[in-house]
Each structure stands twice: as C-alpha cells, then as structure tokens.
Symmetry: C2
Subunit: 190 residues, 2 copies
C-alpha cells in the first residue's frame, strides 16, 4: 500500500467533543469546546484537556483550580460548536444558547445540565507543552442522565450518542454501528 | 432531568483505539492497544498516550524515547483488540496476527503497515500520574494510505473508518453519519 507523508500534524481519529465548564472571576458560567483531550490515568481517575493560554477558560482553570467536562449528545452539536467558536469574554454562552449552567457538587464549576454525561474535576497537574497547556483533572465524580444509563445503571454510548470530531476535514460525526465486544473479539479462542 | 452519580471513574466518550508501536531490547517489534490518549498540543504537534508501568510497551518507550501510533480501520478491530489483550513479552503479535511491522522513517519504532494512519513520535515528556504514566510524543510526521485521503490529499475519516471504544460497556463502534461542519454550524449567521 502506497503511503503519503502529511508532515508533522495533529491528526488523530476519533477525537472527542468536550465542553469544559468554569466560572470566571465574576462567577459567570462559561463552557468551551475542546477536542484536544482524553483519559490519562485510571487510578486516580484523571482526564486531560489542552487549552491555549489565550482562551478565557484557561485563565479560569488556573485561577479556580477545577473544571467540569460535559459531553454533548449529537442533538446538541450546534450548541457545542458555538461553544468552540465564541469566547466567554464576549458573550454568556449559556444565555445565548438557552442552556442551563448547573453548579457542580464537588468542585466550584458549572456544567451543562442538558448534556448526558458530566465529569467533575479537580486540577491535579498543569503541563506547559507549547501553544497548549495541558490540564490534568482528577475526576471526583461522573454523573449522567438516567436516560443515558442501561438497565444495570451503566452509561451506554448508544444512549449518550456523543459527537465525534474529525479535526482534519472539520466535520462532526455521530456514533456508528457496534462492531464487536472489547477484550473479547481478539481472544485466541474467540 | 434526573441525574445519577456514578462515582469517580474514567468515563469519556468517545475514546480512540490507538496501537502504540515500539521495538523491545531485542529489536522485536510490538504493538499495544491503548484507549487512554489524545491530542495534547498543536505547536509543537503532540499527542499523549497513557500506559501502565507493568506493560511491556512502557519499558520500551522509556528505553527508546520514541513510539508510533497506528490507527486501525474497523476491518482490523479483531487484530487491534488482540493487541490490547496479549503482551509482547509473551508473543510476537505481528507474527501471530499476520500484520507487517514497518520501520518508521523518523524514529526507531515500528508501525502497522496495514493501518491507514500512522503518527511517528519522539518522546517529549514523561508524566507520572499514578497507575498510568502519560507519554507525550512530539509528532514528527503523519503518514497515510493513499486510499485514506480525499482528492485534495487530506485524511478523510470516512475513508479511515476508525474504531471507537466504549470503555464503559466494553464495546467497539464504527463511525456514524456526518452531523455537521465544524466551526460552521454553530455560527450565529449559520
């Protein structure tokens, strides 16, 4: 198979659509879309989000030492995209979008009440990588809409319907069909 | 909407399926599946993968200071799952799966020739977070199968067809339908 070099770029598939929630110095709630992030540790449970220092949310995380991550379902793709285009410096995005900024229970940060999954995070590490600062948050709690859970109470991605970002061609996608069970299809005796 | 607390857990949607490629001390190629990872900086372009110290790949990255990330297409979900179940200590996974370990051009590490997208990474930061070590790799090059590129030479997620991991219910999914254009549907004038 012929391969073509694309140069030194940040192309990873899939990337998530994460809404990072913070209060600013005036206690105004803000939410910012981020695709640079992921899980980074199981114990303690930690996730990472990377933000440019120029963003409004960056300053709020540094000042407050905490944040939430709300995961939008695909029905909110317009609202989530808006949260990646405009700055909380200029507009109250929750008001503009008619979304509800709920106060987190474990940290001083708001989350998007309409979104099915929320992680409440305490800032654990701040790592300067270049254009982006990586914030590692220890997850103090995850909470979910009842409608996002299966009969056993586990989050079900088919009920969450998260947004998948293609940052190469700048498109959002939905979840596709189930391919296989993990830690199962690859077993030698499968 | 009623919300239910699920406790302090690492639930993020979607998570990727990344195959981390290294040579061991005997120059034997190895590939390990990782879901804990993502992009973490745009300049320099960096991605992060988190691995437990107990894994064979962890030692190879520490020793070699580099790794590749190969992104499987959904037709290779079985092979990718296998690479997350078995250890390179015990088996040559490339031989067992009939996959081709190609030598990277910019770093001393192998990649999976059959997989459509590969990132070649030089280890830039090693961050001990707890059970997992986060390895931040500077991306020195991305290369792709010609068949994964659109007419303009850009990687097209609809041709890559990456695997999406649901680590909550331990399932793999394919890519779904296009929802919208990013940095566009959320514009006030859209």
């Amino acid at each position: 198979m012929t391969r073509r070099s694309l140069g030194a770029r940040t192309l990873l598939f899939p990337t998530p659509m994460l809404i990072v929630g913070t209060y600013d110095a005036d206690e105004r709630p803000n939410g910012m879309a981020a695709a640079w992030g992921g899980v980074c540790c199981s114990r303690p449970p930690c996730i990472a989000v990377s933000l440019r220092a120029a963003t409004y949310t960056h300053g709020s995380i540094v000042a407050g030492g905490c944040f939430t991550v709300s995961i939008p379902s695909e029905q909110y793709v317009r609202e989530a995209d808006y949260m990646g285009i405009y700055s909380g410096r200029d507009v109250d995005k929750f008001v503009a979008l008619g979304l509800t900024p709920e106060r987190a229970q474990h940290v001083h940060a708001p989350y998007v009440a309409e979104f099915p999954i929320v992680l409440e995070c305490k800032l654990a590490h701040t790592i300067e990588l270049g254009l982006h600062t990586q914030f590692v948050g220890e997850v103090l709690d995850v909470h979910a809409h009842e409608s996002a859970l299966d009969a056993e109470g586990n989050p079900d991605v088919e009920r969450i319907l998260p947004v998948i970002s293609d940052v190469g061609k700048r498109r959002y996608y939905g979840l596709g069909k189930k391919l296989a069970n993990a830690w199962e299809i690859g077993r030698r005796d499968a």
